[in-house]
């Protein structure tokens, strides 16, 4: 029953859109290891649940056919089995964990002939800034990448901790001020994928959702051309304004970005972004986000 429940659950979740509907090599490997772990455990969990119910049902006091054995309180064989079988299963699973943790280390680059697209990610209160250092443009709450090519993300935060995650492409990783984490993802095919922060970061947290659009190479080039022709330029002053708290920000783009802006944030050459500026009874009692 639990097994069928678990299978049904996974089947439902695989239908669309989730982590069990992978659209890239990383998420495919993530969900494969997830399913492997479930299968390994079901081998032991299913018989256990069946036996638990069978014992509980058969040995009910009203069942006159069940034999009452009050002296059955120890059995060396059973103890050996109940310690060794879970231990063996876990040992096997440990192998899966060890290999998987190394193969899927988010900092590791992906195996690919194509040169990865570089994207620098800054988690702001409460929006995502995506900088394309090689292309010299940037966007907010919208991420456009070429499909079929690895994307290498360098991730930091302007203020508090956040976590960068695109469920259908795989592994999430933390964004922290003064530090840079790395992540490589790839979308196999063009498509639109939902992305979000998975580390609660304050009042505007729910609005830190974005769409990752994976597009064919030529469409990516077109998008770059279009971005370069419109929108404001992102210099340090512009960044300082952007870094102030704001919620549910509509996506927009920057036609140019100051070189080295990301490094300046990550190395704290630009100080961490400010917090709330107003509030009921003043910010010291019940602060409210500014902007």
């Amino acid at each position: 029953m639990a097994a069928s429940g678990a299978v049904a659950l996974l089947a439902l979740a695989a239908c669309s859109g989730g982590v069990l509907d992978p659209q890239g090599p990383v998420s495919a490997a993530n969900s494969q290891i997830l399913l492997n772990a479930v299968e390994i455990m079901l081998v032991i969990v299913v018989p256990t649940i069946i036996a638990a119910f069978a014992f509980a049902w058969w040995f009910r006091a009203s069942n006159t056919r069940a034999q009452y054995r009050p002296g059955f309180v120890y059995s060396g064989e059973i103890e050996l089995l109940v310690w060794s079988i879970p231990l063996l299963v876990i040992l096997f699973l440990s192998g899966v964990i060890w290999i998987g943790s190394h193969q899927l280390d988010p900092f590791e680059p992906l195996d690919s002939k194509a040169k990865p697209t570089e994207v620098q990610v800054v988690a702001l209160d409460w929006k995502w800034l995506f900088i394309y250092p090689n292309e010299g443009v940037a966007s907010v709450n919208e991420l456009v990448v070429p499909a079929g090519v690895p994307v290498h993300f360098s991730i930091t935060s302007a203020s508090v901790m956040n976590m960068f995650f695109v469920p259908q492409l795989g592994s999430m990783i933390a964004a922290m001020n003064g530090m840079v984490t790395q992540l490589s993802l790839k979308a196999d095919n063009p498509g639109e994928f939902h992305g979000l922060s998975t580390q609660y970061s304050g009042d505007g947290f729910a609005g830190m959702q974005f769409t990752l659009r994976a597009v064919p190479q030529d469409a990516f080039a077109q998008w770059l051309t279009q971005v370069r022709s419109t929108g404001p330029a992102l210099d340090r002053a512009g960044y300082t304004t952007l870094a102030r708290q704001s919620q549910n920000v509509t996506p927009f783009t920057y036609r140019t970005v100051d070189a080295g802006l990301f490094d300046a944030v990550a190395r704290q050459e630009i100080p961490p972004a400010p917090g709330p500026e107003q509030g009921r009874g003043g910010p010291a009692i019940h602060p409210k986000p500014g902007g």
Binding site: V19, M41, L81, H102, S159, D203, G275, P287
Partner: protein, 670 residues
């Protein structure tokens, strides 16, 4: 004069906390008025508030835990209903309120519901099972309780005066630093946990000392009931882990109050240090809660299967195994923070290894049922429900322990479903089982069976309807703590979870109904024998409710299951053991120390939160004065004369003799 405190602190513009606060205040005032008018104040003061009796303190812990369970559940109702309506919409709770709700939910449920419920059970049961008169330090025990109550009170004051933390229940920096949350919310969080944490640490010291040093004659370690073993393991974890929590929160407090830089972004602060430290406490905390729960199930399953616990020594070994390994797994709470493959793998493996210990326990419970004659009373039904639910929770836990899988499930509602699966399915089910199991011992009458079973089924079904959809929506990529969302595929599952929480609501009503019905019909549910379930350990050998001194004569223990042996002997010889030689008993005097020092701790905590420095000075000085006054007291104990001991025990013996007459002597000799 009043620091930051002003009329602006009260949320005049927010009807929800204002009305909720007014209702709670009205209820509290009404109860107080009733107590005063009916003249119950002296009774409450002498018999409960100043009581150092471990049984009374245990009952007060349970009461606090149940009230806070309801408070935390109301927060859960608000979260589920907000997410049910906040699809492409703002819902009815703005972010600054919603964020307080989920932070308060987690804080209250762990610190002020689960902890008091578990500590309450340990308080009531452990000395009785060990066959002794009280814990090692009775007045300290009372102080522990009242400091815990102080923490709970401060959290609830924040509902109407100021605000609560908007950080989540672990207050990760730098969000919890003054730069990002300058308000009083995080300060409420810090001081309530710092004050109640002292109480919890003292409980740990008290119980470790009690179990190691004070047991009935003949009760060697390997004759202790498994519940005492799990209580020992749990309290060892408290002693080792709670200082970490306190130290971590003190560092955050120094950051916030004195401009230190332990966890700030600037000046060399390191947030990852906080996250490591808080989980070095946080993971053992899970086992502080769940180990005693395992103990409850061991007692219940053994009693109602009519068999000793299968593989007793194996159970003890598994308990200690979990106790030790639980200290080596904390990093699995942040696999996604960027540690390397080897570090993640080591912690993933150590986490999975805990499943071996819990697996062994599950099998031993199953083989306890095997060959038994299982009586399906309410505690036993909770236990079977637990076995099934906990296996599923354990499995999803191991899934999350695989780092590459966690990279996709961390902080998702899958994780939320997992830990509710083990905390509700493990701890709450155990508390419900333990409550029904030991209630007749505490009050002398059983809880109503029909309402108990209704409570189980409503909560069991409600749990699955609530949390199975959350597993699925977590797999669909939904993260926790979202005030609103726009993803259409999440919606049906969020709504389904909303239905589940309504069923849980009926479960809560049924639980209250069970208590009310049972109290009204207490005369027909009365248990005269002190042993309503045909129990096996020493708590059932004394009267229900037990006298203040627990046992007229400390029992002599000559094996596991001492009371079962006594009963067997009585059945074989068809008579009770010879009347013992009653002697006067020295018992600790009641003391208002705990209540008064907690009263001043409340004032100090409140003053610290609002920066009212003169009041801080007054509170600390007064609390210290109480301590000195207690240390200088002359008379620590009073003596219960032998005649009174004899009178109480003869009454119990008459009831046992009547039981023998009715059940043994009339039937054929065994």
């Amino acid at each position: 004069m009043l620091g930051k405190l002003s009329w602006d602190a009260i949320p005049w513009d927010q009807p929800i906390p204002l009305i909720a606060g007014a209702v709670v205040l009205a209820i509290v005032l009404a109860v107080l008025a009733w107590v005063v008018i009916k003249g119950h104040v002296p009774y409450l003061w002498h018999e409960w508030i100043t009581s150092v009796d471990h049984k009374r303190i245990g009952v007060m812990y349970m009461l606090l835990g149940l009230v806070m369970l309801v408070r935390g559940f109301i927060d859960a109702l608000m979260m589920r209903s907000q997410q049910a309506v906040a699809f492409h919409a703002a819902g009815y709770l703005p972010p600054e309120h919603f964020d307080q709700v989920f932070s308060a939910h987690g804080t209250i449920m762990i610190f002020f519901a689960a902890m008091p419920l578990v500590i309450g059970l340990m308080n009531f049961v452990v000395p009785l099972q060990l066959g002794v008169r009280d814990v090692a330090f009775p007045t300290l025990n009372s102080t522990s309780f009242w400091l815990t109550a102080t923490g709970a009170l401060l959290v609830n004051i924040s509902l109407v005066i100021g605000e609560f933390a908007r950080t989540g229940w672990l207050a990760y920096p730098p969000l919890s630093e003054t730069t990002y949350l300058p308000g009083v919310g995080v300060d409420y969080y810090l001081w309530s946990l710092l004050i109640s944490g002292v109480g919890t640490l003292m409980t740990g010291i008290n119980f470790v000392t009690t179990i190691l040093k004070i047991r009935a004659p003949g009760m060697s370690y390997l004759r202790m009931p498994v519940f005492c073993w799990t209580a020992l393991a749990s309290n060892l974890l408290i002693v080792a882990a709670f200082p970490i929590l306190t130290a971590t929160l003190v560092m955050l407090t120094l950051d916030r109050y004195l401009g230190f830089h332990f966890f700030t972004n600037e000046a060399g602060g390191n947030i990852m240090m906080f996250i490591n430290l808080i989980w070095a406490w946080g993971h053992p905390e899970v086992y502080i809660l769940v180990l005693p729960a395992f103990g409850v199930f061991s007692e219940v399953i053994s009693t109602f299967s009519g068999k000793p616990l299968f593989g007793y020594r194996s159970m003890v070994a598994a308990t200690l195994f979990i106790c030790i390994v639980s200290y080596m797994v904390w990093l699995h709470h942040f696999f996604t923070m960027g540690a390397g493959g080897s570090v993640n793998a080591v912690f993933g493996i150590s986490t999975s290894i805990i499943a071996v210990g819990t697996g062994v326990k599950i099998y031993n419970w199953m083989f306890t049922m095997y060959g038994g004659q299982i009586r399906y009373t309410t505690p036993m039904i909770w236990s079977v429900g637990f076995i099934f639910t906990f296996i599923i929770g354990g499995m999803t836990g191991v899934m999350l322990a695989v780092p590459p899988a966690d990279f996709q499930l961390h902080n998702s509602l899958f994780l939320v479903a997992h830990f509710h699966n083990v905390i509700i399915g493990g701890v709450v089910f155990a508390v419900m089982a333990g409550l029904t199991y030991w209630f007749p011992k505490a009050f002398g009458f059983r809880l109503h069976e029909g309402w108990g079973q209704a409570t189980f089924w409503l909560n069991f079904v409600g749990f699955y309807v609530t949390f199975m959809p959350l597993y699925i929506v977590g797999l669909l990529g939904m993260t926790r703590r979202l005030q609103h969302y726009d993803v259409a595929i999440w919606r049906p599952w969020v709504l389904a979870a909303g239905v589940g929480v309504v069923i849980l609501c009926f479960g809560a009503v049924a639980q209250v109904a069970q208590l009310v019905v049972s109290i009204r019909r207490r005369h027909e549910l009365r248990d005269e024998t002190g042993d309503p379930w045909n129990g096996r350990s020493l708590e059932w050998s004394t009267a229900s409710p037990p006298p203040a001194f627990n046992f007229a004569v400390l029992p002599n223990v000559s094996g596991e299951e001492p009371y079962w042996q006594i009963k067997r002997r009585a059945i074989q010889t068809q008579q009770l053991a010879a009347e013992p030689d009653y002697r006067p008993i020295e018992m600790p005097r009641n003391s208002p120390t705990g209540f008064i020092s907690a009263f001043f701790a409340t004032i100090t905590g409140f003053a610290l939160i609002w920066h009212i420095w003169w009041m801080v000075g007054v509170g600390i000085a007064a609390a210290y004065a109480v301590f000195v006054w207690f240390a200088w007291r002359d008379v620590e104990e009073y003596v219960i004369p032998a005649e009174e001991v004899a009178r109480a025990d003869r009454e119990r013996r008459r009831a046992r003799d009547a039981w023998l007459e009715a059940n043994v002597r009339t039937s054929a000799p065994a």
